[in-house]
């Protein structure tokens, strides 16, 4: 399997802001690479550098084994992308938008190809409707059709599920999996939803303040000994008192309203639950959480998390 994207020591500085700081990573062929970070972490800036929208302050980008600066056109011919919102020409129809971007990508599309592409994203019936009449989800799907119309080898999707309802999110997820498994495309997908990436990504990179935090597969990334657990009970004051005087006190991270957030080994959850019940705490729910915030929380100490999440 060959390396499709190779990023070395990539940095971008906007005046006082270090948006991306010495970032290095690589994406392998036919992989779905999850690019994670909270809002403002530097994901979009990195993606924009991969697509030549922004010039790096320093560092190197190689795509398909070619330097992006010297082989821009050859590389972009083989790349499809949706960058943040899928903004298209609202006064044109879906079909016209697709045709226009296909031709701009260097191909001469047949009507059949365009309709097949719209069919793939479920927009064939609205092919001749103007984009201004589309919902956010439809625009998102059309944006993906535009990214795929010239049959690229690498697809870059920046927050592709933003603004979508659960069904829309599931549709995009299935489409991404289809592209990887059946069409053998390489995908780099950015998101701030760890749970979403866990379902599709082979490897993940988590960045924060422009720096790499961790890179690896889901199994490597999540240490079961550092699971974040959310506890919901009928009487939070009573629960706080019981936990405060128990062996579970060191595991407590914070209270979020009536809920308690604890960090512990996954295997301790049954004993913890049983102990609470024995002490008369009425448990409404207890569940492990898997958000990006929780992941960061699992990496930080109880004192550090306050800084990490309240800022």
């Amino acid at each position: 399997m060959s390396t499709i994207i190779q990023v070395k020591e990539l940095s971008k500085r906007f005046r006082e802001l270090q948006a991306v700081d010495s970032l290095s990573f690589s994406v392998q062929e036919a992989d779905i690479y999850g690019f994670l970070g909270q809002n403002g972490a530097g994901k979009s800036t990195t993606i924009r550098m991969l697509l030549t929208l922004i010039a790096p302050t320093s560092g190197e980008i190689e795509i398909f084994g070619m330097n992006l600066r010297t082989h821009r056109r050859e590389i972009l011919r083989r790349v499809g992308a949706v960058i943040e919102k899928p903004d298209l020409y609202k006064y044109l129809t879906a079909y016209e938008n697709l045709s226009l971007f296909a031709r701009m990508s260097g191909i001469s599309p047949t009507s059949r190809l365009l309709m097949d592409q719209l069919e793939q994203v479920g927009l064939a019936e609205r092919a001749h409707s103007k984009v201004k009449t589309f919902s956010q989800g439809m625009k998102q799907r059309l944006g993906i059709a535009v990214a795929l119309v010239h049959n690229p080898d690498l697809v870059i999707l920046d927050e592709p599920t933003n603004g979508l309802d659960p069904q829309g999110i599931a549709d995009i997820r299935n489409l991404i999996l289809h592209l990887s498994r059946h069409l053998k495309k390489t995908l780099l997908v950015s998101s701030h939803l760890l749970s979403e990436m866990e379902l599709i990504a082979g490897r993940m990179l988590i960045i924060d303040k422009g720096k790499k935090i961790v890179e690896g597969g889901a199994a490597e990334l999540f240490d079961p000994a550092q699971t974040i657990v959310e506890l919901d009970t009928t009487d939070p004051s009573f629960t706080a008192e019981k936990i405060g005087y128990s062996i579970w006190q060191p595991f407590l991270q914070e209270r979020q309203g009536g809920k308690f957030i604890l960090k512990m080994d996954k295997s301790r959850i049954p004993a913890f639950t049983q102990d609470l019940v024995t002490q008369g705490v009425q448990v409404l729910a207890i569940r492990p959480r898997h958000s990006l915030e929780d992941y960061f929380l699992s990496l930080t100490t109880a004192n550090q998390h306050v800084e990490a999440f309240t800022n």
Binding site: R72, R73, L76, I83, M104, G106
Partner: protein
Amino acid sequence: MWKLLQIELFKIFRRPRTYIPFAAIAAMVLIIQLGLKFDGRSYLELMMSSLSDSFYIPYNMIMNGYLVAFVILNTLLIQVPLLVALVAGDTVAGEANMGTLRLLVTRPFSRTQLMLVKFGASVIYTILLLVWMAILALFLSMLLFGTNDMLIARNNVMEQIRASDVLWRYIAAFGYATVALSTVAALAFLLSIFAENSIGPIVSTISIVIVLTILSEMRIPLYDNTIKPWLFTSHMLAWKGFFYSRSNGEGAAIPGTVENLPAILRSLGVLLAYIVAFVTAAIWIFKKKDILS
């Protein structure tokens, strides 16, 4: 490049707002033609009041399609730059505003190509606007008012151009106007690079054109030989020079001649230099620009 240009023109002409300047020109031309058709004599009497005591003026002969076209051009070629700015100012800023600029820049062609195509499309739009104006102002006037010798009043002197000697002058004047308006398009195009919505570059272009036109028209000796020769607005109306012929010893116009062709060519050179400077600056800046829209 040709394919990209076709796409750019397709985008321009699918937008309803593209046709507003065409409608505005049609409305203005038709209003002037209507007025002159029904009360042209009064207009001429007013314009030639200083000469009517000394000469017999054959108003019916003078009021013909060529003169009407000249009156229209005199009135409209001052306003049309504003209409050109509407489209040229939108070329890049409008894409940034819609969010489509980032899609364009990630296509496999260079930013220089993108800029050249966008400016080329603006020039083609300008040409079409002028062709539309020529059809209405010249050919429709010829149809409505007929043709005859053309009388031009200049410095209290009447110059007569034979009917057979007029049409090429209009073609040359429209050609010159294309370059003059392309200068405004190039300015709007340059300003369009800096903005993320088209209002800014359109208003800025119009403001610059108005301020520089006022400066060009002011009779202040200090500016006459220092600033004014270098302002593009000082050269935008040089198309009128094509209607001033050289005269023979008896004061009659010599057909096929232009009184001061070198001055017209010099003005043309200044305008072309401005176009090259504006477009080069636009490409240079855009190539270095981070696309954050």
